[in-house]
Amino acid sequence: MTESNSQSVPQPVNPDRYKSLVVVLTVITTVITAMVAGLGADANIRASIGNRDSQQYALLAAGELHRQGLQSAYDINVFSGYLTDAQEATIMQLTAGQQGSNSQVAADSLLQSTVDQARADTAQKFSVFYTDSRYAPKTSGGTPDMQAYLTDSTAAAKNLVTKQNAAADDYNRWNHKGDTYTSIMAILAVTLFLFGLAQALSPRLRLLFAVFGVIALAAAGFWTILVLVS
């Protein structure tokens, strides 16, 4: 009888049950939070560098476009001056021929033609379309390779724009990662809240909240790995 009575008495539940487990989980979450914060800081540093580089390349590209515009204006101006003088020289020579060899008008036309030709010859020396072998006419009387000139003159600016785009893409990628790490840290904050709440509750509820916290912790860990490998 005495034995039977002693068996039916319920054992008191230890109020500190699972407390150590929750403390360990809390500390693990703290360490993971510190690591995610570190990864977030790194992502933000890389985003800042990408942002800075993209601005710098945009500035350099704008400067190069400005310089290239000035150069093109100069080159085209010299070239058009050469063409005008060369054509005037030809026309004046033609006019002199039409006037007859002994007339004063013919002599004046011939003189004008000589002067125009001298101007054209000088302008030709200044023209990149005749001095640079990449653009100079390949045959006598041929035309300069304007397409090659256009391609070359915009190459430097295009190169800078390509670098600028790459830096901007870098910025976007790392900025997105940094934002995601912030979201993960929000989940970890919720996890810490759940573990903290668990400590204040009865053992059964403590276990339940600890399970919720572990699920949130696992989700945060999984998301962190996804972001890391992306």
């Binding site: 403390v23 360990v24 703290t30 360490v31 800081a41 800075r52 500035l59 000035l70 002067v115 001298a118």
Partner: protein
């Protein structure tokens, strides 16, 4: 026996609590320093961008001046050729015209084409002008431009960013140390001392790492904190 009583004593509790407080304070200080370094990096980057904008504005102006002078110099050279052709024609009217052009027009054109048309250092053997040399001279002649070095600011920013990264790694060590110290606080008597030693050891490593990072980057930045 002695060891067992020592690990059970309240003194160890106090030591662990004090260590946790010290590590937490170190963590807070490290976080403050990381913030400061991050702010310095941002400032240096911003300064670099500002210097870049100013430098580009100077460079744009120097290219504009170079091509304006080049255009004037080319016009001068073409007129000079015209005057020479008139002179060489033998026609009295043309020779008189050349003399007038040489006396009244060419000096003014030469003035506009200065220094490309007047300074021999810019003249190529074929009679054309070395525009790159003229641009380089303009760049070198701008004292404000010489002081603007965006790359130096970017380099400084990169060093701050690198320090920020390493400081973050060191603070993760501090967090790990906190983990072990907290374990020591809740552990049974057997595990208490080993976990305390691990926690204190990791804290020591973290502290040394913080000091080394600070000193190393201080010298790398040329004595700038």
């Amino acid at each position: 026996m002695n060891n067992s009583s020592w690990t059970d004593s309240p003194r160890l509790d106090i030591i662990i609590a004090a260590l946790i407080a010290i590590v937490s304070t170190t963590f807070a200080l490290a976080a403050w320093r990381i913030n400061m370094v991050s702010s310095n990096a941002g400032d240096a980057s911003r300064q670099g961008i500002l210097n870049g904008i100013k430098k580009q504005a100077f460079t744009n102006e120097n290219w504009r001046q170079t091509y304006t002078e080049a255009s004037s110099a080319e016009t001068y050279a073409v007129y000079l050729a015209e005057v020479d052709a008139l002179d060489a024609s033998g026609n009295p009217a043309a020779v008189a015209q050349a003399a007038n052009l040489r006396q009244y027009l060419l000096p003014n054109l030469q003035l506009l084409a200065n220094p490309l048309a007047t300074d021999p250092i810019y003249q190529n053997p074929d009679g054309t002008y070395n525009l790159q040399k003229r641009f380089d001279a303009l760049e070198a002649a701008s004292p404000d431009l010489r002081d603007l070095d965006p790359q130096a600011s970017f380099q400084l920013a990169d060093r701050y960013y690198a320090e920020q990264r390493w400081l973050t790694v060191a603070t993760v060590l501090l967090a790990i140390s906190l983990f072990w110290l907290a374990l020591a606080e809740i552990s049974g008597k057997r595990m208490r001392l080993p976990t305390l030693i691990i926690g204190a050891g990791v804290y020591g490593v973290g502290l040394v790492a913080l000091a080394v990072i600070e000193v190393l980057f201080y010298f790398l930045r040329g004595g700038v904190l």
